[in-house]
Symmetry: C2
Protein backbone atom coordinates (compact mmCIF):
# COMPACT_ATOMS: atom_id res chain seq x y z
CA UNK A 1 0.00 0.00 0.00
CA UNK A 2 1.32 3.38 -0.95
CA UNK A 3 1.66 5.84 1.84
CA UNK A 4 2.09 9.08 -0.02
CA UNK A 5 -1.10 10.41 -1.51
CA UNK A 6 0.82 12.05 -4.32
CA UNK A 7 1.91 8.63 -5.62
CA UNK A 8 -1.59 7.24 -5.50
CA UNK A 9 -2.83 10.27 -7.36
CA UNK A 10 -0.07 9.87 -9.94
CA UNK A 11 -1.14 6.29 -10.56
CA UNK A 12 -4.74 7.29 -10.94
CA UNK A 13 -3.81 10.09 -13.32
CA UNK A 14 -1.72 7.67 -15.37
CA UNK A 15 -4.72 5.42 -15.70
CA UNK A 16 -6.87 8.34 -16.75
CA UNK A 17 -4.38 9.43 -19.39
CA UNK A 18 -3.95 5.85 -20.59
CA UNK A 19 -7.64 5.31 -20.91
CA UNK A 20 -7.88 8.40 -23.05
CA UNK A 21 -9.93 10.30 -20.50
CA UNK A 22 -7.91 13.39 -21.36
CA UNK A 23 -7.45 14.63 -24.88
CA UNK A 24 -4.02 15.26 -26.29
CA UNK A 25 -2.79 18.74 -25.45
CA UNK A 26 -5.39 19.19 -22.73
CA UNK A 27 -4.20 21.13 -19.74
CA UNK A 28 -4.21 19.39 -16.37
CA UNK A 29 -5.64 22.08 -14.14
CA UNK A 30 -4.14 21.97 -10.68
CA UNK A 31 -7.10 23.57 -8.97
CA UNK A 32 -9.64 21.28 -10.59
CA UNK A 33 -7.59 18.18 -9.88
CA UNK A 34 -7.09 19.29 -6.29
CA UNK A 35 -10.82 19.71 -5.94
CA UNK A 36 -11.50 16.39 -7.62
CA UNK A 37 -9.11 14.44 -5.41
CA UNK A 38 -10.04 16.47 -2.33
CA UNK A 39 -6.47 17.45 -1.59
CA UNK A 40 -4.42 20.60 -1.85
CA UNK A 41 -2.41 21.59 -4.89
CA UNK A 42 0.83 20.31 -3.39
CA UNK A 43 0.31 16.56 -3.86
CA UNK A 44 -1.28 17.27 -7.23
CA UNK A 45 1.83 19.08 -8.39
CA UNK A 46 3.99 16.18 -7.27
CA UNK A 47 1.81 13.75 -9.16
CA UNK A 48 2.00 15.92 -12.27
CA UNK A 49 5.78 15.87 -12.06
CA UNK A 50 5.68 12.11 -12.15
CA UNK A 51 3.61 12.19 -15.33
CA UNK A 52 5.99 14.69 -16.88
CA UNK A 53 9.08 12.66 -16.07
CA UNK A 54 7.54 9.55 -17.59
CA UNK A 55 6.81 11.45 -20.78
CA UNK A 56 3.06 11.24 -20.50
CA UNK A 57 2.74 14.98 -20.07
CA UNK A 58 4.71 18.07 -20.95
CA UNK A 59 5.40 20.98 -18.68
CA UNK A 60 5.66 24.50 -19.99
CA UNK A 61 6.99 26.86 -17.32
CA UNK A 62 4.42 29.34 -16.01
CA UNK A 63 1.82 27.82 -18.31
CA UNK A 64 1.00 24.43 -16.92
CA UNK A 65 1.32 20.77 -17.76
CA UNK A 66 -0.41 19.32 -20.78
CA UNK A 67 -1.12 15.70 -21.58
CA UNK A 68 0.98 14.42 -24.39
CA UNK A 69 -0.47 11.39 -26.12
CA UNK A 70 2.09 9.98 -28.53
CA UNK A 71 1.14 10.40 -32.17
CA UNK A 72 1.41 7.65 -34.79
CA UNK A 73 5.00 8.53 -35.63
CA UNK A 74 6.20 8.46 -32.04
CA UNK A 75 4.28 5.26 -31.40
CA UNK A 76 6.04 3.56 -34.27
CA UNK A 77 9.33 4.80 -32.89
CA UNK A 78 8.46 3.38 -29.51
CA UNK A 79 7.52 0.02 -31.00
CA UNK A 80 10.78 -0.04 -32.91
CA UNK A 81 12.68 0.71 -29.73
CA UNK A 82 10.75 -1.93 -27.85
CA UNK A 83 11.71 -4.46 -30.50
CA UNK A 84 15.36 -3.58 -30.07
CA UNK A 85 15.16 -3.77 -26.29
CA UNK A 86 13.58 -7.19 -26.46
CA UNK A 87 16.14 -8.28 -29.02
CA UNK A 88 18.82 -7.22 -26.55
CA UNK A 89 17.15 -9.16 -23.75
CA UNK A 90 17.00 -12.21 -25.97
CA UNK A 91 20.65 -11.87 -26.90
CA UNK A 92 21.70 -11.92 -23.26
CA UNK A 93 19.13 -14.46 -22.19
CA UNK A 94 20.38 -16.96 -24.75
CA UNK A 95 23.54 -17.53 -22.73
CA UNK A 96 22.33 -16.54 -19.28
CA UNK A 97 18.81 -17.77 -18.68
CA UNK A 98 18.46 -20.35 -15.94
CA UNK A 99 16.73 -23.70 -16.14
CA UNK A 100 13.97 -22.30 -13.98
CA UNK A 101 13.63 -19.39 -16.36
CA UNK A 102 13.32 -21.71 -19.34
CA UNK A 103 10.72 -23.68 -17.48
CA UNK A 104 8.74 -20.50 -16.91
CA UNK A 105 8.81 -19.85 -20.64
CA UNK A 106 7.56 -23.35 -21.35
CA UNK A 107 4.74 -22.97 -18.89
CA UNK A 108 3.73 -19.54 -20.15
CA UNK A 109 3.70 -20.85 -23.69
CA UNK A 110 1.58 -23.79 -22.73
CA UNK A 111 -0.88 -21.47 -21.05
CA UNK A 112 -0.88 -19.26 -24.14
CA UNK A 113 -1.73 -22.27 -26.26
CA UNK A 114 -4.56 -23.17 -23.97
CA UNK A 115 -5.86 -19.60 -24.06
CA UNK A 116 -5.92 -19.72 -27.85
CA UNK A 117 -7.89 -22.93 -27.85
CA UNK A 118 -10.37 -21.37 -25.46
CA UNK A 119 -10.45 -18.20 -27.53
CA UNK A 120 -9.66 -16.36 -24.33
CA UNK A 121 -7.97 -13.18 -25.53
CA UNK A 122 -7.55 -11.68 -22.11
CA UNK A 123 -5.87 -14.78 -20.75
CA UNK A 124 -3.62 -14.92 -23.80
CA UNK A 125 -2.68 -11.31 -23.21
CA UNK A 126 -1.83 -11.98 -19.58
CA UNK A 127 0.24 -15.09 -20.28
CA UNK A 128 1.96 -13.39 -23.17
CA UNK A 129 3.07 -10.75 -20.71
CA UNK A 130 4.43 -13.42 -18.37
CA UNK A 131 6.36 -14.87 -21.29
CA UNK A 132 8.01 -11.59 -22.18
CA UNK A 133 8.76 -10.66 -18.59
CA UNK A 134 10.52 -13.99 -18.16
CA UNK A 135 12.76 -13.12 -21.08
CA UNK A 136 13.53 -9.70 -19.64
CA UNK A 137 14.52 -11.35 -16.41
CA UNK A 138 16.44 -13.99 -18.28
CA UNK A 139 18.74 -11.30 -19.62
CA UNK A 140 20.27 -11.22 -16.14
CA UNK A 141 20.60 -7.47 -16.54
CA UNK A 142 18.27 -5.78 -14.13
CA UNK A 143 18.85 -2.35 -15.60
CA UNK A 144 17.88 -3.50 -19.07
CA UNK A 145 15.00 -5.41 -17.54
CA UNK A 146 13.68 -2.27 -15.89
CA UNK A 147 13.91 -0.27 -19.11
CA UNK A 148 12.07 -2.99 -21.01
CA UNK A 149 9.34 -3.17 -18.39
CA UNK A 150 8.90 0.58 -18.43
CA UNK A 151 8.50 0.90 -22.17
CA UNK A 152 6.33 -2.20 -22.35
CA UNK A 153 4.06 -0.61 -19.79
CA UNK A 154 3.79 2.58 -21.80
CA UNK A 155 2.89 0.62 -24.93
CA UNK A 156 0.36 -1.54 -23.15
CA UNK A 157 -2.77 0.29 -24.29
CA UNK A 158 -1.65 0.11 -27.90
CA UNK A 159 -0.58 -3.51 -27.91
CA UNK A 160 -3.93 -4.77 -26.84
CA UNK A 161 -5.40 -3.59 -30.11
CA UNK A 162 -3.13 -5.54 -32.46
CA UNK A 163 -3.90 -8.85 -30.79
CA UNK A 164 -7.40 -8.52 -32.20
CA UNK A 165 -6.05 -8.96 -35.71
CA UNK A 166 -7.31 -12.13 -37.30
CA UNK A 167 -4.86 -14.99 -37.07
CA UNK A 168 -2.41 -12.94 -35.06
CA UNK A 169 -2.68 -15.11 -31.96
CA UNK A 170 -1.68 -18.29 -33.75
CA UNK A 171 1.16 -16.56 -35.54
CA UNK A 172 2.35 -14.98 -32.32
CA UNK A 173 2.29 -18.39 -30.70
CA UNK A 174 4.46 -19.87 -33.43
CA UNK A 175 6.94 -17.05 -32.96
CA UNK A 176 7.09 -17.79 -29.26
CA UNK A 177 8.02 -21.36 -30.03
CA UNK A 178 10.94 -20.39 -32.21
CA UNK A 179 12.10 -17.89 -29.59
CA UNK A 180 12.16 -20.55 -26.92
CA UNK A 181 13.96 -22.92 -29.27
CA UNK A 182 16.68 -20.35 -29.91
CA UNK A 183 17.09 -19.65 -26.22
CA UNK A 184 17.30 -23.34 -25.47
CA UNK A 185 20.02 -23.72 -28.07
CA UNK A 186 21.84 -20.78 -26.56
CA UNK A 187 21.83 -19.16 -29.99
CA UNK A 188 22.07 -15.45 -29.17
CA UNK A 189 21.79 -14.23 -32.73
CA UNK A 190 18.74 -16.33 -33.51
CA UNK A 191 16.99 -15.44 -30.27
CA UNK A 192 17.68 -11.78 -30.80
CA UNK A 193 16.39 -11.81 -34.38
CA UNK A 194 13.31 -13.82 -33.52
CA UNK A 195 12.37 -11.45 -30.72
CA UNK A 196 13.01 -8.36 -32.82
CA UNK A 197 10.72 -9.62 -35.54
CA UNK A 198 8.11 -10.80 -33.07
CA UNK A 199 7.80 -7.36 -31.52
CA UNK A 200 8.28 -5.46 -34.76
CA UNK A 201 5.23 -7.20 -36.15
CA UNK A 202 3.18 -5.57 -33.42
CA UNK A 203 4.33 -2.18 -34.63
CA UNK A 204 3.50 -3.10 -38.20
CA UNK A 205 0.04 -4.30 -37.27
CA UNK A 206 -0.47 -1.05 -35.45
CA UNK A 207 0.74 0.82 -38.50
CA UNK A 208 -1.76 -1.05 -40.64
CA UNK A 209 -4.50 -0.09 -38.25
CA UNK A 210 -3.57 3.59 -38.35
CA UNK A 211 -3.32 3.52 -42.13
CA UNK A 212 -6.69 1.86 -42.46
CA UNK A 213 -8.24 4.57 -40.30
CA UNK A 214 -6.81 7.37 -42.42
CA UNK A 215 -8.16 6.11 -45.74
Amino acid sequence: MELRRANRIAETLEQLVFSGEYRNGERLDEHKLAEYFRVSRTPIREALQVLVSSGMAEQIPRRGVFVRQPGPVELMEMFETMAELEAACGRFAATRISEAGLQQLFDANQNCQQAIEEQDHDRYYAENEVFHHAIYKGSANSYLEKQALQLQNRLKPYRKIQLRFRGRLAQSMAEHESIVAALQDGDAEKASDALRRHVAVQGEKFHQLIASLNT
Copy 2:
Protein backbone atom coordinates in the same frame (compact mmCIF):
# COMPACT_ATOMS: atom_id res chain seq x y z
CA MET B 1 17.67 30.32 -19.40
CA GLU B 2 15.56 28.24 -17.07
CA LEU B 3 12.74 30.06 -15.42
CA ARG B 4 11.86 27.68 -12.64
CA ARG B 5 14.32 27.70 -9.79
CA ALA B 6 13.53 24.09 -8.99
CA ASN B 7 14.96 23.00 -12.35
CA ARG B 8 18.16 25.00 -11.87
CA ILE B 9 18.53 23.47 -8.44
CA ALA B 10 17.94 20.00 -9.86
CA GLU B 11 20.71 20.54 -12.40
CA THR B 12 23.09 21.73 -9.73
CA LEU B 13 22.24 18.79 -7.52
CA GLU B 14 22.84 16.41 -10.42
CA GLN B 15 26.27 17.92 -10.88
CA LEU B 16 26.99 17.55 -7.19
CA VAL B 17 25.93 13.91 -7.18
CA PHE B 18 27.87 13.23 -10.38
CA SER B 19 31.02 14.80 -9.01
CA GLY B 20 30.78 12.57 -5.99
CA GLU B 21 30.14 15.43 -3.61
CA TYR B 22 27.62 13.24 -1.85
CA ARG B 23 28.43 9.76 -0.65
CA ASN B 24 26.28 6.82 -1.62
CA GLY B 25 23.35 6.42 0.73
CA GLU B 26 23.72 9.92 2.10
CA ARG B 27 20.47 11.66 2.91
CA LEU B 28 19.67 14.86 1.07
CA ASP B 29 18.35 17.04 3.85
CA GLU B 30 15.61 19.33 2.68
CA HIS B 31 16.19 21.97 5.32
CA LYS B 32 19.92 22.15 4.75
CA LEU B 33 19.53 22.28 0.98
CA ALA B 34 16.88 24.97 1.34
CA GLU B 35 19.26 26.99 3.47
CA TYR B 36 22.16 26.38 1.10
CA PHE B 37 20.22 27.46 -1.99
CA ARG B 38 18.44 30.25 -0.10
CA VAL B 39 15.00 29.03 -1.08
CA SER B 40 12.13 27.36 0.68
CA ARG B 41 11.68 23.61 0.88
CA THR B 42 9.16 23.57 -1.96
CA PRO B 43 11.54 23.99 -4.90
CA ILE B 44 14.02 21.72 -3.15
CA ARG B 45 11.46 18.95 -2.97
CA GLU B 46 10.68 19.35 -6.65
CA ALA B 47 14.36 19.14 -7.49
CA LEU B 48 14.73 16.02 -5.38
CA GLN B 49 11.87 14.40 -7.27
CA VAL B 50 13.75 14.98 -10.50
CA LEU B 51 16.78 13.19 -9.09
CA VAL B 52 14.61 10.33 -7.92
CA SER B 53 12.91 9.89 -11.28
CA SER B 54 16.25 9.82 -13.06
CA GLY B 55 17.43 7.09 -10.74
CA MET B 56 20.16 9.14 -9.12
CA ALA B 57 18.42 9.06 -5.76
CA GLU B 58 15.96 6.89 -3.94
CA GLN B 59 12.96 8.05 -1.98
CA ILE B 60 11.75 6.24 1.09
CA PRO B 61 8.37 7.56 2.24
CA ARG B 62 8.48 9.51 5.47
CA ARG B 63 12.23 8.99 5.65
CA GLY B 64 13.72 11.13 2.95
CA VAL B 65 15.64 10.82 -0.28
CA PHE B 66 19.06 9.24 -0.38
CA VAL B 67 21.67 9.46 -3.10
CA ARG B 68 22.08 6.25 -4.97
CA GLN B 69 25.39 5.92 -6.74
CA PRO B 70 25.32 2.85 -8.98
CA GLY B 71 27.62 0.07 -7.80
CA PRO B 72 29.98 -1.87 -10.07
CA VAL B 73 27.34 -4.44 -11.01
CA GLU B 74 24.73 -1.88 -11.99
CA LEU B 75 27.33 0.11 -13.90
CA MET B 76 28.24 -2.92 -15.94
CA GLU B 77 24.58 -3.48 -16.63
CA MET B 78 24.22 0.10 -17.77
CA PHE B 79 27.23 -0.19 -20.06
CA GLU B 80 25.79 -3.37 -21.54
CA THR B 81 22.48 -1.65 -22.12
CA MET B 82 24.22 1.34 -23.66
CA ALA B 83 26.01 -0.99 -26.06
CA GLU B 84 22.70 -2.48 -27.12
CA LEU B 85 21.08 0.92 -27.55
CA GLU B 86 23.94 2.10 -29.73
CA ALA B 87 23.82 -1.15 -31.68
CA ALA B 88 20.16 -0.45 -32.33
CA CYS B 89 20.93 3.10 -33.44
CA GLY B 90 23.56 1.76 -35.80
CA ARG B 91 21.18 -0.83 -37.21
CA PHE B 92 18.64 1.83 -38.14
CA ALA B 93 21.20 4.40 -39.18
CA ALA B 94 22.71 2.00 -41.70
CA THR B 95 19.67 2.36 -43.92
CA ARG B 96 18.41 5.76 -42.82
CA ILE B 97 21.26 8.16 -42.22
CA SER B 98 21.38 11.14 -44.55
CA GLU B 99 24.32 12.34 -46.61
CA ALA B 100 24.62 15.28 -44.23
CA GLY B 101 24.68 12.88 -41.32
CA LEU B 102 27.45 10.83 -42.87
CA GLN B 103 29.39 14.01 -43.50
CA GLN B 104 29.06 14.90 -39.81
CA LEU B 105 30.51 11.52 -38.93
CA PHE B 106 33.43 12.08 -41.28
CA ASP B 107 34.11 15.49 -39.79
CA ALA B 108 33.87 14.30 -36.22
CA ASN B 109 36.23 11.46 -37.00
CA GLN B 110 38.71 13.80 -38.60
CA ASN B 111 38.58 16.01 -35.53
CA CYS B 112 39.07 12.96 -33.33
CA GLN B 113 42.15 12.03 -35.32
CA GLN B 114 43.51 15.53 -34.93
CA ALA B 115 42.84 15.44 -31.20
CA ILE B 116 44.80 12.21 -30.91
CA GLU B 117 47.76 13.69 -32.74
CA GLU B 118 47.67 16.66 -30.40
CA GLN B 119 47.27 14.38 -27.38
CA ASP B 120 44.24 16.46 -26.50
CA HIS B 121 42.10 14.06 -24.47
CA ASP B 122 39.40 16.58 -23.70
CA ARG B 123 38.96 17.48 -27.33
CA TYR B 124 38.86 13.81 -28.27
CA TYR B 125 36.22 13.25 -25.65
CA ALA B 126 34.13 16.12 -27.01
CA GLU B 127 34.40 15.07 -30.64
CA ASN B 128 33.76 11.46 -29.74
CA GLU B 129 30.50 12.62 -28.23
CA VAL B 130 29.61 14.47 -31.43
CA PHE B 131 30.30 11.27 -33.36
CA HIS B 132 28.00 9.18 -31.24
CA HIS B 133 25.25 11.77 -31.14
CA ALA B 134 25.32 11.88 -34.92
CA ILE B 135 24.69 8.14 -34.98
CA TYR B 136 21.80 8.45 -32.54
CA LYS B 137 20.28 11.07 -34.78
CA GLY B 138 21.04 8.99 -37.84
CA SER B 139 18.74 6.29 -36.49
CA ALA B 140 15.87 8.57 -37.51
CA ASN B 141 14.07 7.42 -34.40
CA SER B 142 13.80 10.33 -32.02
CA TYR B 143 12.49 8.19 -29.18
CA LEU B 144 15.45 5.84 -29.37
CA GLU B 145 17.70 8.85 -29.76
CA LYS B 146 16.39 10.36 -26.55
CA GLN B 147 16.85 7.12 -24.63
CA ALA B 148 20.41 6.81 -25.89
CA LEU B 149 21.22 10.41 -24.98
CA GLN B 150 19.80 9.94 -21.50
CA LEU B 151 21.78 6.83 -20.67
CA GLN B 152 24.92 8.23 -22.25
CA ASN B 153 24.58 11.25 -20.02
CA ARG B 154 24.26 9.09 -16.93
CA LEU B 155 27.36 7.15 -17.87
CA LYS B 156 29.37 10.25 -18.69
CA PRO B 157 31.37 10.43 -15.46
CA TYR B 158 32.40 6.79 -15.79
CA ARG B 159 33.33 6.88 -19.47
CA LYS B 160 35.85 9.62 -19.02
CA ILE B 161 37.96 7.28 -16.94
CA GLN B 162 38.37 4.54 -19.49
CA LEU B 163 39.66 6.88 -22.18
CA ARG B 164 42.78 7.26 -20.05
CA PHE B 165 43.72 3.65 -20.76
CA ARG B 166 46.92 3.42 -22.75
CA GLY B 167 46.36 2.93 -26.43
CA ARG B 168 42.61 3.18 -26.04
CA LEU B 169 42.30 6.35 -28.10
CA ALA B 170 43.94 4.86 -31.18
CA GLN B 171 41.90 1.67 -30.89
CA SER B 172 38.71 3.64 -30.41
CA MET B 173 39.55 5.65 -33.48
CA ALA B 174 40.00 2.53 -35.57
CA GLU B 175 36.63 1.27 -34.38
CA HIS B 176 35.04 4.53 -35.45
CA GLU B 177 36.44 4.03 -38.94
CA SER B 178 34.90 0.60 -39.30
CA ILE B 179 31.60 1.88 -37.97
CA VAL B 180 31.48 4.63 -40.57
CA ALA B 181 32.41 2.15 -43.27
CA ALA B 182 29.55 -0.12 -42.33
CA LEU B 183 27.09 2.77 -42.26
CA GLN B 184 28.32 3.94 -45.64
CA ASP B 185 27.79 0.46 -47.05
CA GLY B 186 24.32 0.41 -45.54
CA ASP B 187 25.25 -2.83 -43.79
CA ALA B 188 22.92 -2.86 -40.79
CA GLU B 189 24.31 -6.01 -39.24
CA LYS B 190 27.90 -4.90 -39.48
CA ALA B 191 27.18 -1.41 -38.17
CA SER B 192 25.21 -2.82 -35.29
CA ASP B 193 27.94 -5.30 -34.35
CA ALA B 194 30.71 -2.76 -34.64
CA LEU B 195 28.92 -0.31 -32.40
CA ARG B 196 28.03 -2.96 -29.86
CA ARG B 197 31.63 -4.04 -29.56
CA HIS B 198 32.89 -0.45 -29.52
CA VAL B 199 30.74 0.46 -26.56
CA ALA B 200 31.09 -2.89 -24.82
CA VAL B 201 34.83 -2.36 -24.70
CA GLN B 202 34.22 0.69 -22.55
CA GLY B 203 32.39 -1.47 -20.07
CA GLU B 204 35.17 -4.02 -20.11
CA LYS B 205 37.81 -1.38 -19.54
CA PHE B 206 35.78 -0.13 -16.66
CA HIS B 207 35.51 -3.65 -15.32
CA GLN B 208 39.27 -4.03 -15.50
CA LEU B 209 39.65 -0.81 -13.56
CA ILE B 210 37.30 -1.97 -10.82
CA ALA B 211 38.97 -5.34 -10.63
CA SER B 212 42.40 -3.78 -10.35
CA LEU B 213 41.18 -1.63 -7.48
CA ASN B 214 39.86 -4.62 -5.57
CA THR B 215 43.11 -6.61 -5.67
